[in-house]
Amino acid sequence: MARRDIQLDEEGRLRHFLTIEGLDQPLLTEILDKAEGFIGVSQQAIKKVPLCRGKIITNLFFETSTRTRTTFELAAKRLSADVLSLNISTSATTKGETLLDTLRNLEAMHCDMFVVRHADSGAAHFIAQHSAPHVSVINAGDGRHAHPTQAMLDMLTIRRIKGEFVKLRVAIVGDILNSRVARSQIHALNTLGTSEVRVIAPYTLLPAESRSLGVHVYHDLQEGIRDVDVVIMLRLQRERMRGAMLPSEHEYFQLYGLTEQRLRAAKPDVIVMHPGPINRGVEMDSQVADGPRSVILQQVSHGIAVRMAVMSMCIGTQNARIARREASVSGLNP
């Protein structure tokens, strides 16, 4: 028998959210549908729903982040959860406490969910394996591996503007090699049935296995964005680059920077996305970033809804598990 995906419970419901890999199309669609429901919450005078009252959600950020951490925090607060945000560099780990000891202590404080960002690939998975059974773990970015909530907010943005994935041609441009966002996006786009996924990058910024990811590889920006519906620009991950992968940022912009002029090769109603933070003048021109085709700020708003969806699904699964166990215990001892 195949080993069960750690992300799912016995009934196939989402318990942890660590990576897009292994999740099927109905589950990804369910996340998007739930997120649509949560978008409506921002229209309420009181922008909160009572779903996660009494739950404690802890942000464990071992790597800096502004957008992701604040949108996770806001999402948790809109679900009425209590939120702890730990900045690990100033916490007990600098005094020599191990990661597992930190986790045990947080569990003793009855935390129900960890939102984890870490520079090492596999960190969120490790924490999920070593956490108490009532705790859910959400990956907010691990090394070069995955950033599944970012991918899902991008999918929500694409679906809300463009509709069905089966009709779409999507290009991802830039630092594919170092990008956990790109990896998660490619898995999500393919699972959702996107007609064509392209990656556009210099040889030095492409992983060796990129073709096996189910994408079409281009090295020329102009050629690669021809007739695409969606262009996703990636940030140059300078902090993850070792050695000389690029001659200079200026030269990168000359070859791979997105400008209004270059964008003319794409479909007239193309949308331009970027996970942020943008290096203006490196990945794209300000004219494009602030232009009518840019949906970058919509992505940020959708991030809150997607994170609310994923968090409430995981906590709901844990609730159901605990209720089932209590029911079976009381059934044994009537």
């Binding site: 739930k34 649509e36 009181i46 159901a320």
Partner: protein
């Protein structure tokens, strides 16, 4: 029960509701239907009463009190209240009033959008089995049902009422999650 009978019940409900609103001195009310059956019913009542304000729809999934037992409803739709509800009269419409828990959730959700002047509850069916002190103001049908029986509005076109029997607790919870009680 077939579509013609139900149409007659809904027409009677509309005229009762009009009388109720006139007696209470309610002007320019906002009608809000609770998904899914309540919306089907509200669409018809809204037309019959020729209300000025557009119809609102409420999905109470995020306000259910059984989230801690069964998790999130698999089908969630956005709520849509096109007119601000603060300082307005609301007509809340649902298909079947049973335990009262759906209405409790709906009231909580409405109050997160604003503070209405009043809320009137109209239900096609009010049955036994209340678990909260909530009654409907306007009702068309009060069936005599036993504890294990349930009544469901089917639709959207044509509307029908089906009486069935839940075999055990588990299937009843599944059904509650799919529809509402």
């Amino acid at each position: 029960m077939g579509p013609d009978e139900i149409r007659a019940f809904i027409e009677a409900m509309a005229s009762d509701l009009a009388k109720y609103l006139a007696r209470a001195g309610v002007e320019k009310p906002i009608m809000v239907g609770i998904r899914t059956g309540g919306v089907w019913l509200a669409e018809r009542l809204h037309g019959l009463l020729e209300l000025e304000e557009p119809l609102g729809t409420l999905d109470i999934s995020f306000y259910r009190d059984d989230f801690t037992r069964i998790g999130l409803n698999p089908e969630v739709h956005p709520s849509n209240l096109p007119v601000p509800v603060g300082d307005r009269h609301i007509i809340l419409v649902d298909d079947v009033l049973h335990t009262g828990r759906t209405i409790r959730a709906a009231l909580n959700e409405i109050f997160d959008y604003g503070r209405p002047t009043s809320v009137v509850l109209a239900a096609l069916v009010e049955r036994s089995g209340h678990e909260l002190p909530i009654q409907a103001d306007v009702v068309a049908i009060r069936p005599d049902l036993e504890a294990g029986e349930h009544i469901t509005l089917t639709g959207p076109e044509p509307l029908g009422l089906v009486i069935g029997r839940a075999s055990n607790r588990v299937s009843r919870e599944h059904e509650q999650q799919a529809g509402k009680t």
